[in-house]
């Protein structure tokens, strides 16, 4: 079946979807677009998230798949790709990448389309002609001014609320310390839940999330480490509160960091337009892709990247996306070992790490080998402490060790470089055990100051990934 514009109109769920798809017809929205001789067309479309969405359509049976979280089927990305195909735009022919083949292998015939609604006849017919009409640019200066003023008022209110919340937080921390942290474990969940709710009310959602996750981190530690952990984390909360009160005195990068962490957001457009933001164009390799459900019912998707080339700038980056849990399971957009060339823009920070993809060049491949910088354990900890000095409330931080070996110690596994040993966080799945004794590994993991969460290793036996 050849795609026609009429078919695209027919398959669109509503006019809004077609209008949105029209805006995606610009080739610049598609850093990757290709097709096969079998009638498959696929592409990567840059959305509002940090990672482009992967879209594939099958011309023969109008099957489609997109990784965006839209609840409309087909989504605007799928419609845009169909639209371009229907218009006969030239598309490079090449062999489908793995993620397209995976979709094909899982298919059970033509894509499931939403069941025909009983009210289908009543639904206004979507029209490409309507979507192509230019949007009327209604500019009312007074309305704009009112909106601006309202935004300023909202901002001021939020600042005041957060400052008040910080004072309450300090009182809460003081209460715990006066009662004694030895007994905190028994009330940790209740107390942290209470403090988190207050911070949410104070519009400091980022900080609330940090407080709410504290008990989980606490009980994940061996008993012997919990006292120091509590001192560090509660002390850190006061540090953040005090820094927020004195943010005018802070360097801009640290101030931006602080505000982001407390809960202020920066839109993609604002970040792309930020002149002070660090931009790095290079080849990047995905070292880990993880998902975690936060207490606020958002699924946090983290993609950890390592820079493969010689460009200046951060050696590691993390892309973060947040998706409502209600949408259900989300497949990984990238998987460990994939490489691509891209320009990353880092959120302003005294220790830049979080970034978005400003532009991707070419397609994702599985070529390339990651080499850790020539750091032993001590060198890696030096770098960590430098970052900690720059950003005192540093959480988990990426570190890399060159030429190490995983070995058994009295209380678990360690990453050892013949001088110094770093404890490794062990999990129930035994995935680390085959790595024991394999010498000369380049290891990447997240260090939280106590234990290394090993995520990736290049070894003489090949690449190791956690199960």
């Amino acid at each position: 079946m050849s795609l026609t514009l009429a078919k695209v109109e027919e398959i669109a769920p509503d006019q809004g979807s077609l209008s949105a798809a029209r805006k995606l017809l610009n080739p610049r929205s598609w850093p990757v677009i290709a097709g096969s001789e079998a009638g498959l067309v696929w592409g990567e479309c840059q959305g509002s998230g940090s990672q482009p969405y992967r879209v594939v359509i099958s011309e023969s049976d109008l099957g489609y798949k997109c990784t965006c979280p839209s609840r409309k089927f087909p989504c605007k990305h799928s419609l845009a790709l169909m639209w371009m195909r229907a218009e006969g735009r030239p598309i490079t022919t090449q062999a489908p990448p793995d993620w397209v083949n995976d979709w094909l292998a899982r298919r059970r015939g033509p894509s499931a389309r939403p069941p025909a609604s009983n009210k289908a006849e009543e639904k206004p017919k979507a029209s490409i002609a309507t979507a192509l009409e230019p949007e009327s640019a209604v500019v009312d200066p007074k309305a704009q001014a009112r909106a601006l003023a309202q935004r300023e008022r909202n901002r001021a209110e939020r600042e005041a609320a957060i400052l008040a919340g910080m004072e309450e937080l300090d009182l809460w921390i003081l209460d715990q310390v006066e009662r004694g942290l030895a007994g905190f474990q028994t009330v940790a969940r209740e107390q942290c839940g209470l403090a988190a709710r207050r911070l949410v009310d104070a519009k400091a959602s980022g900080l609330a999330s940090r407080v709410e996750q504290l008990p989980v981190a606490l009980f994940g530690l061996p008993e012997a480490l919990r006292a120091d952990f509590l001192i560090e984390k509660l002390g850190e909360l006061h540090l953040i509160a005090e820094a927020y009160r004195r943010q005018a005195e802070l360097p801009e990068a640290l101030k931006a960091d602080l505000r982001l962490m407390v809960g202020w957001t920066m839109s993609r457009e604002d970040l792309l337009g930020e002149p002070q933001a660090t931009r790095v164009r290079d080849r990047w390799m995905v070292l880990a892709a993880t998902q975690e459900i936060q207490p606020d019912k958002l699924r946090r998707l983290e993609t950890w990247l390592a820079r493969l080339g010689d460009a200046d700038g951060p050696r590691f980056a993390v892309l973060m996306d947040f998706v409502p849990v209600s949408i259900g399971a989300v497949g990984k957009t990238y998987s460990a070992g994939e490489t691509f060339e891209a320009e990353l823009v880092f959120y302003p920070s005294s220790a830049p790490l979080r970034a978005i993809i400003a532009q991707q060049f070419g397609s994702v491949t599985r070529e390339g080998h990651w080499r850790a910088p020539p750091d032993d354990v001590s060198g890696a900890l030096d770098r960590y402490e430098a970052s900690l000095g720059a950003r005192p409330w540093l959480g988990e931080w990426p570190i890399a060790i060159h030429n190490g070996v995983v070995a058994r110690a009295a209380d678990g596994l360690v990453l050892f470089d013949s001088n110094t040993a770093l404890p490794i966080r062990t999990k129930e799945d035994d995935a680390l055990l085959p790595l024991i004794g394999v010498e000369g590994i380049d290891a990447f993991g997240l260090w939280d100051g106590r234990r290394l969460d090993l995520k990736f290793a290049e070894t003489p036996l090949g690449r190791w990934l956690p199960a």
Partner: protein, 475 residues
């Protein structure tokens, strides 16, 4: 600024509670924090915490940098790894069909081991086939063993008479079976030498291993096992003795069998002898075949014919009227390696005799290639056997069908009918995967062409299995 003693005092204070034990903030921080600062305690907590974060604790050096296991086998080719994972790991793989067994056999034959990093993802496969997959697989299955439950048998890569007693039970049995084909007496002597000191499960596998090349020379040892303390060992020895022509057990079994056979005359123009089994009242109709096979299948073909005072050919003709008795004859022919007779019986009506034989645990197929050529005649099948039976076929043969049989299978009407009606009848993917691993390697390309037009959901596993076997077999 913050010395060890101050750290200790401050830590104790915050842990016990500053309302109970005030924190000496000014002294600890050298005047950096004023004692009348309303946030003094909080600042002290923050600085104490940051101090802790920059303190590098000295971790004890490792107790061991030895690998978890050593294995002298080569690792599977890199290209085979994703196929192994997709076929055999928990999420996508299906470990309930015969593909895992075939892959394990292929890896063992090529002396290949799994990549160590894939062991966690192939847990079920490794657990089920560790004895074939090498030292690393065995070590993986024992990785949580404590000193309280030692496994005293280790994996031995190359077994010989010097080390066979240290190997795992399945390896020891395979060694004895192999030695029995070349030097049966020596193999028996080795078994006799260790028998008394072994536990019952080991004694049982060693006795069963003596089934290979059984001869009257084994009789004294087997008769001595009548006093073994394990009932299973006594029963196994009894079963072997029943297969020895001339032994009292064999004679007894033959007599019982002959007593159960009724003779009659059949035919109008030419009178022929017809034989029929007479079943005990306690054997239900649906149990008859199994009872007959287990009771009389082990009787020597020659002794059976002699007891009936008929030639073997005449026995074959006479049993034609009783399908179960005919199947018993087929089993006896198989055990006696009279494959010509077996082939004849199959052609004359016992098309599915192989089904009975592959489902019986106590029937050994000594020469799988010759047996297959006789018993498996796909051109006579009216429809394809269900996948489970084909799986048992492989499990019995432990090798693919020889090329001529494979070719006949792919050309058979039964197979072609299944292919042509696949989209309508939607056979389980397990059928195609089973055929893919059952046929000879030289026929895989032909099978690929036959499966190509079918939907991927039927054939993906079959294609992956064939690709994997191709990779393993060329290594």
């Amino acid at each position: 600024m913050l010395d060890a003693a101050s750290v200790e005092i401050l830590t104790r204070s915050v842990m016990l509670g500053t309302s109970r034990q005030a924190a000496p903030v000014q002294k600890a921080f050298g005047g950096l924090i004023e004692s009348d600062d309303p946030k003094a305690t909080l600042k002290a907590l923050a600085l104490l915490g940051q101090h802790s974060r920059f303190r590098r604790s000295v971790h004890a050096p490792p107790t061991s940098v030895e690998p978890l296991f050593r294995d002298e086998r080569a690792i599977v080719p890199e290209a085979a790894r994703p196929l192994l994972l997709s076929l055999l790991s928990g999420k996508i793989g299906d470990v309930t069909d015969v593909v895992p067994l075939v892959v394990a056999d292929a890896l063992e034959h090529r002396r290949l081991r799994l990549h160590p990093f894939d062991l966690p993802r192939l847990e079920d496969f490794v657990k089920a086939h560790a004895d074939q997959l090498g030292a690393s697989a065995v070590a993986w299955t024992q990785r949580h063993a404590t000193t309280a439950t030692p496994d005293s048998y280790s994996f031995v890569e190359t077994i010989d008479e010097a080390n066979w007693t240290h190997a795992r039970p399945a390896q020891r049995a395979a060694f004895i079976r192999g030695l029995r084909t070349t030097n049966a007496a020596r193999a028996r002597a080795l078994v006799e030498g260790v028998f008394a000191s072994e536990q019952a499960p080991i004694r049982l596998v060693l006795v069963k291993a003596l089934a290979e090349n059984l001869s009257p020379a084994d009789q004294p040892f087997l008769e001595g096992l009548a006093k073994d303390r394990a009932p299973t060992v006594r029963e196994a020895a009894e079963g072997l003795l029943a297969r020895l022509p001339g032994s009292p057990q064999a004679a007894k079994r033959l007599a019982e069998c002959l007593s159960r056979i009724k003779r009659a005359s059949a035919g109008v123009l030419r009178r022929r002898t017809a034989l029929e089994l007479d079943y005990p009242a306690t054997v239900n109709e649906w149990q008859r075949e199994a009872w007959a096979i287990s009771t009389f299948g082990s009787i020597s073909l020659d002794e059976f014919a002699k007891g009936l005072e008929l030639s073997i050919d005449d026995v074959a003709a006479a049993t034609a009227y009783d399908p179960i008795l005919s199947t018993v004859l087929a089993v006896q022919a198989s055990q006696a390696r009279r494959y010509d007779l077996l082939a004849r019986l199959v052609r004359e009506g016992l098309v599915n005799a192989w089904v009975t034989m592959v489902q019986a645990d106590d029937i050994d197929i000594v020469d799988p290639a010759a047996w297959s050529a006789a018993a498996i005649q796909p051109d006579l099948w009216t429809e394809m056997p269900v996948a489970v039976l084909l799986m048992r076929l492989y499990a019995k043969l432990r090798m693919p069908l020889p090329a001529p049989i494979s070719e006949r299978l792919l050309a058979s009407k039964a197979w072609r009918d299944l292919l042509s009606s696949a989209e309508q009848n939607m056979p389980q993917p397990i059928m195609f995967a089973t055929i893919a691993v059952l046929i000879s390697a030289s026929l895989r390309e032909a099978l690929r062409k036959q499966l190509a037009p079918l939907p991927t959901e039927f054939t993906a596993r079959a294609f992956r299995a064939m690709s994997l076997l191709d990779l393993i077999e060329v290594t």
